[in-house]
Amino acid sequence: MAEVTLKNIKKVYPIGDTEKKQRKALKKSKEENPESNKANLQITDEGVVAVQEFSLDIKDKEFVVLVGPSGCGKSTTLRMVAGLEEITSGELYIDGNLVNSVEPKDRDIAMVFQTYALYPHMTVRDNMAYSLKIKKLPKEEIEAKVNEAAEILDITQYLDRKPKALSGGQRQRVAIGRAIVRDPKVLLMDEPLSNLDAKLRNQMRSEIIKLRQRINTTFIYVTHDQTEAMTLGDRIVVMKDGFIQQIGTPQEVYDHPSNLFVSGFIGTPQMNYFDAKLEVENGKYVVNTDGYKVVLSEEKQVRLKEKDVKPQDVTLGVRPDHIVLSENGLKGKVDVSELMGPSCHLHMTVDGKDVIAIVPTEGKKVDYVNKEVDFGFNGNVCHIFSKEDEKNLEY
């Protein structure tokens, strides 16, 4: 149970001579071909910048999820909180104490690793009891704590087995058990579910939600899976290229993405994008997509007016579930139709771009494939992004 504060944290990995040469080559190839931005990490004279300008206040008992694509610096941030990576600059506070140079063993933090990191030569019981033995707690207390954690996680019957005799899901439970048995101030989880199959992942996800209700501690959870981020976190931190893109509750991030990246990263299927014009007609903001005009909702009108947004070319984003088939609107040719049970995902081509629409089936079987359909959307579901800096013009 603790507050965690990260102030302007930066992590730079120094580079050697070989890497310097590679960096020069990379720079050169980038200059020659700016499109091929292969590495999403920034390489400077100091080295490879993994995380920068990372500031975040995590409240006591809060569940914060760091989410982003591979190489965005989320795991590095978590490892810096754990003390497994040195912080290049910035300040890290746990419960108000500056811990930048405090050893991991003295931070009272537990971590669940992606690979579980169970000690293969110890039984499940010994794995769970290890940290308590190091703390030199009395035997009876250790026994009681291990049994309690095992009961919470339903692994009591496996206590005398070695990790190799357990399935992936069971190992995951043991890894979590080993972390919670200590009553840590902060519980860190580094992609704990990514090694499990889809079914087990769903099951474990709901178990983590239940676990969170049972143990009162601060959670920092790293994942690249936006579903995990949306379902688990009180707040989610979306990262890209070492920078925080947006911090907010899952609903805020989903409804009001701060930029094009966040809008595309959060939500499945991905948001659809159209080249559009933001115009003002009769004092109201209107988006014009290839002649299809939609008046924006009152809320959006107010926000755009407050920011005094000028008419301009924009990228219009609409989520697939907000697209409705209508008689007038944009035209698209359906290439693929995926039946999902209650709804149908239509993959359409509109002006050479892919657009996905989620259409409720309502029990009817309709064949859309190779047909041309008209579709539209309402003014309250339009997300308008600047063409220049890809930021949401409303915020």
Binding site: A82, P104, K105, I109, A110, M111, T115, P120, H121, R178
Partner: protein
């Protein structure tokens, strides 16, 4: 149907015979130069078969007499196999203990992500170098360095540390020490590389997890590194021990084959070698060989069992 028959015929071609053809040269060499001499050695160990002056005695079947003789007190008042086994063991321990300690320390330093030592490749090459030098050449070098007129004595005298040259090659402690030192220098690099490979094979997250669990470096070493490194460590330990049993060239060259002083540096193989000198005592040499073979086989079986243990 015709086609099917043809297909099945094609499938029945066996490539196995090519495999056998390729391994024939190895087996021929093995049979002639390894298996046959081994069997002959075992056979000879049950015979009285040696040269006395110009006469060849035997071969006469004597059963286990040669083996009994090894374990019987001789004219000089000691049991030969026990004395030379102890010599070998002591010489091995003098070299092996520092070898394991230093190699383990170096392996830990080199693999530590926290220390992140620069120029590792250079150090690894340097510490491995002595292993590439021929043992007898290394031994000759030490013989020259530590002889009574050698540079070490000259240095000590010029510094005034000693008045008379020290007879390094005439004292049990210094001869054994020098043999141990040479074995240590020749093998610690090899052991370091093996232990490093072992440590690098352990998932880094084990160490990180242990550190987060509150362990200090010593606790990480004894609770995590050592148990997980055990199969490699046992392999290194036993192979070193087998190497120790076969110790020959270093003491042979340093003491000019005499195991001086007073046979205190005579190893088992030197003892075996003595039977093959003028006397050509194939019976006794066979018995010593068979005994060594049994000891080595037992140790190897132990390593195999440890490493393949699930």
């Amino acid at each position: 149907m015709e086609k099917m028959k043809k297909l099945s015929k094609t499938k029945s071609i066996s490539y196995a015979k090519w495999g056998y053809i390729f391994i024939i040269p190895f087996f021929v060499v093995y049979l002639i130069f390894t298996l046959y001499p081994q069997l002959l050695t075992i056979y000879n160990s049950f015979f009285e078969y040696y040269r006395d002056g110009l006469n060849v005695i035997g071969p006469n079947f004597v059963g286990l007499r040669n083996y009994k003789e090894l374990f019987t007190i001789n004219n000089a008042g000691y049991v030969p196999i026990v004395k030379y086994s102890l010599n070998t063991l002591i010489l091995w321990i003098i070299g092996a203990v520092p070898q394991f300690l230093i190699a383990m320390l170096l392996a830990l330093f080199f693999t530590s992500t926290r220390l992140n030592i620069k120029g590792q490749q250079f150090f690894k090459t340097v510490i491995y170098m002595p292993n590439l030098i021929m043992a007898s050449a290394f031994s000759m070098l030490f013989f020259a360095l530590f002889s009574q007129v050698g540079p070490i004595n000259q240095l000590l005298q010029s510094w005034g540390a000693v008045n008379e040259p020290i007879n390094f090659l005439g004292m049990t402690i210094s001869v054994r020490g020098l043999i141990g030192l040479m074995n240590f220098l020749m093998w610690f690099g090899n052991t370091t590389i093996l232990l490093m490979a072992g440590i690098q094979g352990i998932d880094e997250s084990m160490f990180e997890s242990a550190r987060l669990d509150g362990s200090n470096s010593t606790q990480v070493f004894f609770n995590i590194t050592m148990p997980l490194l055990m199969p490699i460590f046992i392999y290194v330990f036993i192979t070193s021990m087998i190497g120790g049993i076969q110790m020959f060239d270093v003491p042979q060259v340093l003491t000019n084959g005499k195991g001086t002083p007073n046979l205190t540096s005579t190893t088992l193989i030197m003892y075996l070698n003595n039977f093959l000198g003028v006397s050509k005592n194939f019976g006794m040499a066979g018995a010593v060989s068979v005994l060594l073979f049994i000891i080595t086989a037992v140790l190897s079986a132990f390593v195999f069992k440890t490493i393949t243990r699930k």
